[in-house]
């Protein structure tokens, strides 16, 4: 009889070829990290067995910080330096933040994104989120026993470009390689769909701590196709706490509160909300620093009444999403509930009444997003066996456009377009002899620029002087599979080109990220240089494996000489990767990339030909559509 091998506790039981990849749900209230072990998606708990990590960071004067339960327990004691719900500030300017005056934080208006003044210095929401992500990365690496090849990070489907970019920056800052940004409801649909072998049209209703998403998906034979999505990126469980908080102030007739007392009552409000769901009545008692005593009873009836408008606010995007998908309630086979806030009975009732069916609650609403993200990470890392895979087709939530004369928006890519997508549009000059053109990229559904989110501004210079209307400027938008936009503009007669990856208005520059990385190094035990070297080595290994497997399956596409050159470059990279010089590794990787460029193109042709099953496509593959030609992203 063969003996079964049992790994030591804490040691990875996975075979060595399994690549370590995780899914991370970076939530407003709580965050989680999950991975696929022995074919099963599981949440990785902390050393005390707790699966959730409260998305709360406590900053100290010596520059150090704590993340999670400990930080959360200090909220009422040190409200200014304990930052909760930072997700609400991601990619946001100071004026975008609702209820700013009732928050205990010291905001600082900065170009692009708001900053928070803490005892440990001024922090951007990206840095604070990175502290949360770093804690999860360390937890996962300790549990899995090795460095991660990458992570799938989830974002609300309704996040705009600035919020997505900020999330990706935070992951980079936390030392994570992002395999993909994945929409939260889509992640939930993967977890639900694969577990239940679901087929048909499903709605995912995702009410998190600070964001609301609704996605309508068509699930069929291993394809998850998002048909439409909608939501509100500033509506969530936090707002229900806020309603209870306001009710307490009124019912207990309290005088204006200190920030410590306000924080204390907000915590009471959240606890009462959670207690109410299973119990029907929640006592609220507190002794404030001011000496006042609060002693109230919150009933389900009162809570339903004071939160009625919030519930109604979630139904409106649901209707819109159905309309965008050209579907009606009768077409929806099931409604998957996601997010802790969907436990509230008034939400369950409202969703059930709207869809005329009982919502599906058979997955833990706190964990389902992380579990789905882990499954996707496992797939993207290449751990799945052939045949055991699926295809995800997601959409962008908000239209992308440009400002034209008069402050109007010209939409280039409409909302709910399947990504990746590219569109180009021709524009012209307004004045005689005009030599420069301001390009202002916006996102949103409204007709006026001032009602949409400004994503970036850039200038195209060097247009040859012509009469007004004679120049032809082609502006091309490319949205990648992460839902991130790149824009390029070209004057077609003189060939003047300007390229940008949309970032400046609300994102961080690469310099800012570099300086944040340096700051964070000073305060974490992480040896960043060591880590960067390790990362380069992992990347090199990844590339070598990818090329080797390509040689194995498609080596016949190469001449002997080409093959020898590639093998030579592989050998060089292998040797370099054993060394300690990160720059040399990067250069050797560039060399291998260069040698395989032609090979890559031939392999892609072959893939497509395979999908065509022998149709006449030789000419097709080499002559892309001329009317909608693609601009290469910068």
């Amino acid at each position: 009889m063969a003996l079964l091998q049992i790994a030591e506790p804490g040691e990875s039981p996975a075979p060595h070829q399994q690549k370590l990849a995780v899914g991370i749900d970076l939530g407003t209230t709580n965050s989680l990290v999950a991975t696929v072990r022995s074919g099963l998606s599981t949440v990785i708990s902390d050393e005390l067995g707790r699966p959730l990590l409260p998305s709360v960071v406590h900053y100290h004067a010596d520059g150090s910080s704590e993340v999670g339960y400990e930080a959360q327990s200090r909220q009422a004691i040190d409200p200014r330096n304990v930052i909760a719900s930072v997700k609400r500030f991601m990619g946001r300017g100071i004026r975008d933040i609702a209820h700013r005056e009732s928050m205990p934080y010291e905001f600082e208006d900065a170009p692009g994104m708001v900053r928070l003044r803490t005892a440990a210095g001024v922090k951007s929401p990206v840095e604070i989120s990175a502290d949360i992500l770093r804690t999860l990365r360390v937890r996962a690496e300790a549990s899995l026993g090795g460095q991660l090849v990458g992570a799938v990070i989830t974002v609300p489907a309704y996040f705009d470009d600035a919020q997505r970019q900020a999330t990706k920056d935070a992951a980079k800052l936390a030392g994570l390689s992002v395999l993909r940004l994945l929409n939260e409801p889509t992640a939930a649909a993967i977890a639900y769909g694969l577990d239940n072998a679901a087929e048909g049209v499903y709605a995912v209703y995702d009410l998190g701590g600070g964001t609301f998403d609704i996605s309508i998906l068509n699930l069929s034979k291993g394809v998850f196709e998002v048909m439409s999505t909608g939501g509100d990126s500033a509506l969530g469980g936090d707002d229900f706490d806020q309603r209870i908080f306001c009710w307490i102030l009124e019912a207990a007739k309290l005088k204006p509160l200190s920030i410590e007392d306000a924080r204390l009552l907000l915590t009471c409000a959240r606890e009462a909300k959670e207690y109410l769901t299973p119990h029907g009545v929640a006592p609220i008692t507190a002794r404030l620093n001011s000496g006042e005593v609060v002693d109230l009873k919150l009933t389900t009836e009162i809570f339903t009444e004071i939160s009625q408008t919030l519930v109604a606010k979630t139904i409106q995007p649901v209707k819109k999403a159905l309309r965008d998908a050209a579907l009606s309630v009768a077409d929806v086979k099931g409604v998957v509930m996601v997010g802790g806030a969907t436990r509230m009975p008034q939400i369950q009732r409202a969703v059930g009444a709207f869809f005329k069916q009982e919502p599906l609650n058979n997955l833990d609403p706190d964990k389902v997003v992380a579990l789905g993200a882990a499954m996707q990470a496992n797939l993207l890392a290449g751990n799945r066996a052939a045949g055991d895979d699926w295809l995800l087709l997601d959409v962008i939530p908000l239209s992308l456009g440009l400002e034209t004369m008069g402050g109007l928006v010209e939409k280039i890519i409409p909302r709910n377009s399947t990504i990746p997508i590219a569109r180009a549009q021709a524009f012209t000059t307004f004045r005689d002899g005009q030599t420069a053109l301001a390009v202002h990229v916006v996102q949103g559904e409204r007709e006026l620029v001032s009602d949409c989110r400004s994503l970036a501004r850039f200038e195209l210079r060097g247009i040859p002087p012509m009469v007004a209307g004679a120049a032809r400027i082609r502006v091309a938008f490319q949205v990648d599979a992460d839902g991130l936009l790149a824009v390029s503009a070209r004057e077609t007669t003189a060939g003047v080109e300007a390229n940008i990856v949309v970032k400046p208005s609300y994102g961080l520059s690469d310099d800012e990220i570099a300086s944040m990385l340096k700051d964070s190094m000073a305060h974490t035990k992480d040896d960043a240089l060591r880590r960067a070297l390790k990362e380069a080595q992992v990347e090199a290994q990844r590339l070598i494996e990818a090329v080797q497997s390509a040689l194995k399956s498609d080596g016949d596409l190469l001449t002997n000489e080409q093959r020898a050159r590639i093998e030579d470059a592989i050998a060089k990279l292998q040797t370099t990767a054993l060394g300690e010089n990160r720059r040399h590794i990067t250069l050797a990787m560039d060399d291998l990339e260069g040698e395989t460029k032609e090979f890559a193109a031939r392999r892609m042709d072959k893939s497509i030909r395979r999908a065509f099953a022998g149709k006449n496509i030789d000419e097709l593959a080499s002559s892309p559509d001329s009317s909608k030609s693609l601009e290469e992203p910068a």
């Binding site: 993909r180 797939l379 377009s417 990746p420 497509i608 999908a611 097709l620 002559s623 892309p624 559509d625």
Partner: protein
């Protein structure tokens, strides 16, 4: 004429207006399963870029062929009969009168907050369009009367816009 790069060829489907929607969906998914960036996360930069370009192209082709209006416009473009709506604004007066009436009905229902009325209007316009698309299929696939088909497509563009306006009106009532 160069046939090779058109969207129909990409999906291996006959170049007609009455495409088989199930076959289109199937081909789209088969090709996307080969080229999608999710398949190339672990690949080198070159392959990742190619994958992005191909997946984008396949999405574009699918979106164009999926919706009947854009499919008709595309077919006309391929046959050298551009719809060119911007330079063909002259429409028969009875058609324009009818459009005015529709629009007034929408505006009235919107002011009176009659959501049911708006949804009925939506249904009626949708039905009208379906009939027109059947006629268009005959013009394009059987009679090959492209100039007349182009005129019908221009009319359908009006109706399509009307439908969007009705949806906007419904959305504004819900807000």
């Amino acid at each position: 004429m160069d046939f090779n790069a058109d969207h129909f060829t990409l999906f291996g489907l006959p170049r007609i207006f009455s495409v088989d929607p199930l076959a289109l969906d199937k081909r789209y998914r088969e090709i996307q399963a080969q080229v999608h960036p999710d398949r190339f996360v672990q690949a080198g930069d070159g392959e990742r870029r190619l994958s992005l370009q191909w997946a984008t192209r396949v999405n574009e082709a699918y979106q164009t062929l999926k919706k009947p209006l854009s499919r008709a416009q595309y077919l006309l473009h391929l046959s050298g009969h551009e719809v060119d709506a911007e330079n063909n604004t002259a429409m028969p007066s009875e058609f324009l009168m009818e459009q005015m009436e529709w629009r007034e009905a929408v505006a009235e229902a919107r002011t009176a907050c009659e959501q049911d009325e708006l949804e009925q209007l939506h249904q009626r316009v949708r039905q009208r369009m379906n009939t027109r698309y059947e006629q268009l299929a005959d013009l394009l696939d059987v009679q090959h009367d492209y100039p007349l088909a182009a005129d019908r497509v221009r009319r359908l563009m009006f109706l399509e816009k009307l439908l969007l306006d009705i949806d906007d009106a419904v959305a504004s009532l819900e807000a």
